[in-house]
């Protein structure tokens, strides 16, 4: 039946029904943030650095030779939902098929009808640049057996339609878990969904209702505002999330953003962040001085930030269990999301040249344990490790 419907759609390329389907498909590409990995023109070529080596994203334009122009609708569905490309080639889960497996076939079909309409681009990509033995694709068969048990999405009884829509988006097309769920040594999700994870030198924060590290202090409206604009009274999106906001969430419709927010607010609290720094009084004292000199002009002596710069008081980003993002922000700086509703995209400058490892650790320990924030201390060793990683990248 599905195949028949698709065939009918292709036979009627210029009808309003087809246009509606491509619009629906374009929206699926927004939900899935295809551009984020495959590029603005979807021709791929963007390197994803994983713990197993480098993967370069493939060309998903309808170019026959270098893209997916020779795919059938069923080929595409198999790639999206089973991680298997034509010829039985096994995809790596950097392509989040474990999440897309939850998508309804109708949404995948709509996405396919949209992808057929984008401009074909000739761009030949060598996708697999992983280290041995991870470059052996057949190994993914074992991975799939161990970690991939695709379940079609089913609504949870007793939850509202809005909650279920949120669950469908978060677990499916929007693939939030790809970044925010901790991974095991094989790069597969392990338990405690959406409690935060390290990737590409950033820590994607806890999205549970934990009050210390998660979204426990955010309202549904706060989450919607953040996803829609890249900012709210608590925080400012930067790093990979700034890209996700710019390419994807800022273009989602408000009902879907609300659904996501309602679902996230209902996630059980994670394990917190380990509580306040103990025995770090000297660090906090030194950090207070350093903060006044280097940080207070923008973030305020009261840590409340301004209309432009994010507060640090009550900002969950600074209270995560892992400090990769905030250390990186201090050392390398960062640029906030810029969206139609909040176009400024202010930047944080690099302080790497001005603060040594100990000074940065002291300031961050102070920030994590002041104005009501509580979180474990940051060590100079951690700052040093991240500084070396930044130099290496």
């Amino acid at each position: 039946m599905r195949k028949f419907l698709l065939a009918a759609a292709f036979a009627a390329l210029s009808t309003p029904a087809f246009a509606a389907n491509t619009d629906a498909g374009r929206y699926q590409s927004v939900l899935g943030d295809c551009e984020g990995c495959h590029g603005k023109n979807l021709a791929g070529g963007i390197a994803l650095v994983t713990p197993f080596g480098k993967l370069v994203t493939p060309n998903i334009t309808p170019d026959k030779d270098t893209g997916i122009g020779s795919y059938s609708a069923e080929d595409f569905r198999q790639a999206m939902k089973a991680g298997i490309a034509p010829g039985g080639k096994l995809l790596y889960p950097a392509m989040p098929y474990p999440a897309y497996a939850h998508m309804r076939d109708s949404d995948v079909a709509a996405l396919w009808s949209y992808l057929k309409t984008v401009k074909p681009v000739k761009n030949s990509v060598t996708v697999n640049q992983l280290k041995f033995p991870f470059n052996l694709r057949f190994m993914m068969r074992g991975w799939n057996i161990l970690f991939f048990a695709p379940q079609p999405y089913a609504d949870t009884a007793g939850k509202s339609a809005e909650w279920n829509r949120g669950a469908y988006l978060v677990g499916g097309a929007a693939h939030c878990s790809a970044c925010h769920t901790p991974k095991n040594m094989f790069g597969a999700d392990k338990g405690s969904a959406l409690t935060g994870a390290v990737l590409q030198g950033w820590f994607a924060p806890d999205l549970t209702s934990d009050r210390a590290a998660g979204l426990g202090t955010w309202s549904v409206a706060d989450i919607v505002e953040y996803l829609q604009t890249g900012r709210n009274a608590h925080s400012l999106a930067s790093g990979p999330m700034a890209e996700a906001v710019e390419n994807s969430t800022s273009k989602m419709n408000e009902a879907d953003l609300r659904a996501i927010a309602v679902y996230l607010k209902d996630l059980p609290a994670g394990k917190g962040n380990g509580g306040a720094a103990t025995g770090a009084e000297a660090q906090i004292r030194a950090g207070a001085v350093g903060y006044d000199i280097s940080c207070a002009a923008c973030h305020g002596r009261d840590g409340k930030g301004s209309a432009l710069f994010p507060p640090l008081a009550g900002n969950a980003t600074v209270r995560q269990v892992r400090t990769d993002s905030i250390v990186r922000m201090v050392l390398a700086g960062g640029k906030a999301a810029s969206t139609p509703k909040a176009p400024t995209g202010p930047g944080m400058p690099s302080f790497a040249w001005r603060l040594n490892d100990q000074q940065a650790a002291d300031i961050l320990t102070y920030v994590r344990n002041n104005w009501g924030n509580t979180a474990p201390a940051v060590s100079a060793e951690t700052v040093g490790r991240i500084r070396s990683a930044l130099h290496g990248s």
Partner: protein, 587 residues
């Protein structure tokens, strides 16, 4: 042979204040726009890093953000009998370089010229008779106050100007400038918080019967969201404005008010480190067809376009017109020709007061932080018994307490050694100053043309500046110094020093970057290079936007009027020109 690129609807030369405003307005109207910028890309977080932006040696002394003479120099002389010599370094004025232009490192004074400026000849002739204007080449600007007021308003709300209105729709407002022309509404932000020196000075001015008001400032008195949705931060009064970029998003610039929106538009493209060599005209010289530029790769490109907007620094606009043969060169002997005519500058003097046991704390400063009086500006006072026209604004600003440049000492203090050290230690906290920034009126012999001898790295002639302070302006400035002498008396200072302007402009010490004229606007093609919409009389698809269009310079900082002219020209292009291309004014 230049590589020819695909045609654009509009080609903008220079992405500073005017280029950014024009690009924003024209892309909003649906045009495909490319901006070609000689200098580098510059962005707040990466290039104006607040962690090192206060490097006075790098930015203020070595002038890191400015145009360097090896890129473009000028030759200077005081009068036509002299041979102009090329400058070795920019001194008297400091043009900007790169995206944002001089709007990156300005102070933020955002004034409106007055009704009586735009119609200066008519106004002064009616009040004093034609004989009063003697040898001055004063002329009306072709645009009236009522036409352009809305454009000032647009620029002020874009920038988030902090100030106090003095005249809203004819109603004089307490605390504002009673001499300003009627504005349609209040400033978008309240005035800055005044430092001690400025607040005390304003009290003394009031006691003397003058009308002090907070000077209009594009430093943010509070956080602000402008009409494009772009956010700016509250000024931290750090004292690193002029010669510096703001690392705090607190000083209006193209970066902080326009670029976050403009740079994302699919119908806008920016090419940096691309130097425009000339605008190419059709064989009959009546239309521009393209611009030729050298790219960052050293290759020459030709960019065709339907409209060419010359939006560089004013002096460079004039030179580019000359190099492209747009309009006829002004000749001071015959008085014929328009390009290079009515070059003006700024005519300033100052007072310094030294006290004992004061704590002025000059490190609490901002570029446009202070109080002003306009009682002696423009034609706010009666000139009928005076031997000049024009005037000056008088301001007490506290811009900085920077350790290298801010070393006030009394006249006669040794320039080095123990006595100098002692004097600067005393002068730092114990002295304050205020100054007059005076009008500069055009005369026949002050003008711009191409130098006959010296060329740039591309072999193009340099711009030659022939300028000295006219007798009228020297008389005006000395009259203002007389007023400063009277004003300092009630302060009870231990010692005072009031400067007096002399003839013989020297291009070495810094004075002001307010160069104006050379491609002035007007209603007569014999005396103006561009019409009231800043459209070239000779090549109607070329608009020349900037202080180059000022028919004279007033006793105020020019950027507010430059911004207004940019909006004014943009409106003419989007509402008139693109519907019906061709001359917008017929004579």
């Amino acid at each position: 042979m230049a590589r020819i690129l695909p045609k654009k609807d509009a080609v903008i030369i220079g992405l500073g204040w005017t280029g950014s405003i024009l690009a924003q307005q024209l892309t909003d109207a649906g045009l495909n726009v490319v901006a070609i910028e000689r200098g580098p890309w510059r962005d707040t977080a990466t290039d104006f890093n607040i962690a090192y932006m206060q490097d006075e040696l790098r930015y203020a002394v070595r002038k890191d953000l400015f145009l360097q003479p090896n890129v473009e120099a000028m030759t200077m002389r005081n009068d036509m009998t002299q041979t102009a010599m090329p400058m070795r370094d920019y001194g008297s004025f400091l043009p900007g370089n790169g995206v944002g232009g001089a709007g990156v490192h300005w102070n933020g004074h955002t004034w409106r010229f007055w009704d009586s400026d735009f119609s200066i000849k008519t106004h002064l002739t009616q009040r004093y008779g034609a004989a009063k204007l003697k040898n001055l080449m004063l002329q009306d600007w072709g645009v009236t106050w009522n036409e352009i007021e809305k454009s000032f308003d647009q620029f002020e709300y874009l920038c988030g100007v902090s100030g106090k209105a003095g005249n809203i729709k004819g109603q004089i407002q307490p605390g504002g400038n009673p001499f300003e022309s009627a504005r349609s509404r209040e400033y978008p932000n309240p005035p800055m918080q005044m430092p001690y020196a400025s607040a005390d000075w304003a009290e003394k001015m009031k006691e003397q019967g003058f009308h002090p008001f907070p000077l209009p400032s594009s430093n943010m008195s509070r956080s602000y969201v402008n009409p494009l949705g772009i956010r700016m931060g509250q000024c931290s009064y750090c004292g690193f404005c002029e010669r510096f970029a703001c690392g705090n998003y607190s000083k209006a610039s193209a970066q902080t008010t326009i670029l976050p929106v403009l740079m994302k538009k699919p119908n806008f493209e920016l090419r940096t480190e691309c130097e425009v060599l000339k605008v190419n005209l059709t064989a009959d010289g009546k239309m521009a067809k393209s611009v030729t530029y050298v790219g960052a790769d050293g290759v020459e490109y030709e960019q065709p376009g339907d409209i060419v907007l010359i939006c560089a620094y004013g002096l460079m606009n004039v030179r580019l017109m000359m190099l492209s043969k747009i309009g006829a060169q002004y000749d001071p002997v015959t008085g014929k020709g328009t390009v290079g005519r009515n070059y003006c500058y700024q005519t300033s003097a100052g007072a310094r007061l030294f006290f004992e046991d004061k704590h002025f704390n000059p490190f609490i400063g901002a570029g446009a932080l202070g109080m002003s009086v306009d009682d002696f500006n423009g034609d706010a006072f009666d000139h009928s018994k005076l031997d000049f026209v024009g005037g000056a604004g008088i301001s007490c600003t506290v811009t900085n307490g920077r350790p290298i440049g801010n070393r006030p000492t009394l006249p006669g203090t040794p320039r080095w050694g123990a006595k100098w050290k002692q004097a600067t230690a005393e002068g730092y906290q114990n002295s304050m100053g205020f100054g007059s920034q005076g009008s500069s009126y055009p005369v026949r012999e002050n003008y711009l043309d191409l130098d006959p001898t010296y060329t740039d790295r591309h072999g193009r002639p340099l711009l030659r500046v022939t300028f000295d302070f006219p007798d009228n302006d020297v008389a005006m400035s000395n009259y203002l110094s007389d007023q400063l002498e009277k004003m300092v008396k009630p302060f009870g200072a231990k010692q005072t020093a009031v400067a007096r302007l002399k003839k013989g402009w020297n291009s070495v010490p810094y004075q002001s970057t307010h160069n104006t004229g050379g491609a002035v606007m007007g209603s007569d093609p014999k005396t103006s290079a561009v019409n009231k919409y800043l459209q070239s009389w000779d090549v109607p698809n070329v608009f020349v936007i900037g202080a180059s269009a000022f028919a004279h310079n007033a006793g105020m900082n020019p950027t507010g009027t430059v911004g207004a002219l940019a909006y004014w020209a943009a409106e003419a292009i989007t509402s008139q020109y693109i519907k019906s291309p061709g001359a917008l004014v017929h004579t």
